[in-house]
Symmetry: C2
Subunit: 196 residues, 2 copies
């Protein structure tokens, strides 16, 4: 037994993420940058430095199954984030602004190539399971805001404005390569949402 066996046991991969997770992470990042149809399987394999066999082993359904997993991942991520923020009794406007700021970091870090949420993925085939997954994610996020805003009819309206200003603002900011546009629209929306 050498020191290597202790410090870097071979059974544990070098990367802390498993193969499946790495595939999901790379796929999500690419889909957010170029949309579903804009990404080739080979792009994902190149990004992860993995062979085709691995991908089709973990995702027998191929590209679409991987995309659905990626959507599910980001959906859970954001949903959990919203849940924990709202659990602190934070006001909805403040949570929205926080989320927007995180999106800004995301945009800047990727030099405005990535779309932080699901905006680009929407360019998916009509009645597919992928569309359904995206739809579910949006519903969950909407429901979080709605519940935090009191569950009234007015709360539903405000929740819609919150998500719309976020997704729309991201789109504007990405195109203009200026996070300003996102901050401006979301700040205004947050203002409106916070008033009784």
């Amino acid at each position: 037994m050498t020191i290597h066996d202790v410090e870097f046991p071979l059974a544990q991969p070098v990367s802390p993420l498993g193969t499946k997770e790495r595939l999901i992470a790379a796929a999500l990042s690419l889909f957010q940058a170029k949309g579903y149809h804009g990404v080739a399987i080979s792009d994902i394999l190149e990004a992860t430095d993995l062979p085709k066999g691995s991908l089709y082993h973990h995702f027998p359904g191929g590209k679409e199954e991987l995309a659905i997993a990626a959507v599910g991942f980001i959906a859970d991520e954001v949903d959990a984030r919203l849940a924990s923020e709202f659990a602190k009794n934070k006001r909805a406007g403040a949570v929205l602004l926080d989320l927007a700021h995180e999106c800004v970091n995301w945009l800047r870090r990727s030099d405005y190539t990535q779309t932080p949420l699901l905006g680009l993925l929407a360019a998916s085939p009509g009645e597919s399971a992928l569309t359904q997954a995206i739809c579910d994610a949006q519903k969950r996020w909407l429901a979080r805001f709605e519940a935090a805003l009191g569950g009234t009819e007015d709360a539903h309206d405000k929740a819609c404005l919150a998500l719309a200003s976020l997704e729309g603002g991201i789109s504007l900011a990405r195109m203009a390569r200026s996070s300003d546009l996102l901050i401006r629209s979301v700040t205004l929306a947050a203002l409106h949402i916070n008033q009784r």
Copy 2:
């Protein structure tokens, strides 16, 4: 000379639109439904019942040049519409709501397959001319709202919110297959924009 020569002169095409216009219209419609990468040249040819030669004669630059033309078309269309509405001294919120209602008709007519504005087209390659064209369109629309709102710093914020709520609302509504979400978010945004 027969009656046919008078009633249906051969020189005039059956369709009121020229070949180039038909290509642009079909391309725009398809791109709005499936995004740039989701549409094949053959889809456009099938929709117009035109051969490849015609497309590459009118658009030597191929798919991207056609897409840029389509973006320019919708950009001009919306820009002109905004200009004429604002020329009547209509309030910005009212104009925004009108535009949203037209988008709703668009969504319904296409059974929620199309994205009325440019949201989906954004899934384009990074630094291409197409991205630039989309960016220009958004800038022009933003400027229209900004000018109508007085050109102040606050006006810029409100213009951002207007476009963001519109684009974001469209995205929400399309996924949920319910125009409600668009109307709700835009109504709330319009309310905020109209107050001094």
